[in-house]
Amino acid sequence: MNDTAGVVFLLLWMLVVIGLPIAFIITGRIREKNHFEDIARREAIHRNFPVIDLSLLPAGMTASRSTLVTGQVVIASDYLKNFFAQYRQIFGGEMKSYQTMMQRAKAEARLRMIEDARKLDAVAVINVRFETSQIGQARGKSAAMSEVLCYGTAVMP
C-alpha cells in the first residue's frame, strides 16, 4: 500500500519536473514558428511599400503632409532559454535563442509601424529608426525582457 503511493508520488513528481519544462519548450517553439509565419505573410502584403532610413523622399515622389508613426513590442525570453544561455556563456559563440527572439521583436515592431502608416494612406515611411532597450531583469534569475521601438515619418501625397 505504502509502496504504490510512493510510486504514484514519484511518477507525479517526475511529470512535473520533466514533463512541464518539455511542454513549455514545445509551446514556445510552436508559438515562435506561428509568429514567423505570420510575419512572412504580413511582409508579403507590404512588399512594395517603400520603407527607408534616409531622410529624403524616394525619387519621383512628392508629399504635402507627414506625421510620425511608431510600432512597438515588448518581448520576453523564457526561463529555459535563459537556462541554456547560461551554458552558452561558458564557451561563447552565437546565442541562437536570443537571436530569434530579437528578430521576431524587430520584425513585429516594423510591421506595426508600416500598418500604422498604411492606415493613414501614406505612400512611404522615411527616416526609420530602431531602438531597443532592456526594461526589466524582473526578479533574480527570471527571464530577460526587451522593448523594441520602430519609428519613422510617414509621408502622404
Binding site: 514556445g28 508559438r31 531622410s55 507627414s66 506625421t67 510620425l68 523564457d78 526594461i135 524582473a138 521601438l149
Partner: protein
C-alpha cells in the same frame, strides 16, 4: 501640430526656430500585470500588457513634448527622438525630444 523625425517637412518651409522641447514619464510596473508577465516568461513571446503600458506611456511623453512646443508658439516638431531606460528595478523612463519650429506650407 506636425510631428516628424526628419529634419524637414515635405511641402513646408521653416520660418522660425523655437528650440528644444522634451517630455518624459517614468512608469512603474503593475503588480497584476507583473504576475501575468511572470507566467508568460514560462513560454516566452510578446508581453501584450507591457506593450500596451509602454505605448500609452510613450504617448503621454509625446503629449508633454507637444504641450511644451505649443507654449513656445510652435506648430511643428522636427527630428523627434525617443529613448527608454530603466531607472530602477521595475521602473522605466520614456523620454521624447525634438526641435520645435514654426512652419508654413510652400505655395
Amino acid at each position: 501640430m506636425i510631428v516628424v523625425n526628419t529634419e524637414t517637412i515635405p511641402g513646408h518651409r521653416i520660418i522660425a526656430l523655437k528650440g528644444l522641447v522634451q517630455g518624459n514619464t517614468i512608469r512603474a510596473k503593475h503588480l497584476g500585470r507583473d504576475i501575468g508577465a511572470g507566467l508568460k516568461n514560462l513560454v516566452g513571446g510578446e508581453l501584450t500588457a507591457y506593450t500596451e503600458l509602454l505605448t500609452e506611456s510613450r504617448r503621454q511623453a509625446m503629449e508633454r513634448m507637444m504641450a511644451q512646443a505649443q507654449q513656445l508658439g510652435a506648430n511643428a516638431i522636427l527630428n523627434v527622438r525617443f529613448t527608454t531606460s530603466s531607472v530602477a528595478a521595475g521602473a522605466a523612463e520614456l523620454y521624447a525630444y525634438g526641435t520645435a519650429v514654426t512652419v508654413e506650407p510652400v505655395t
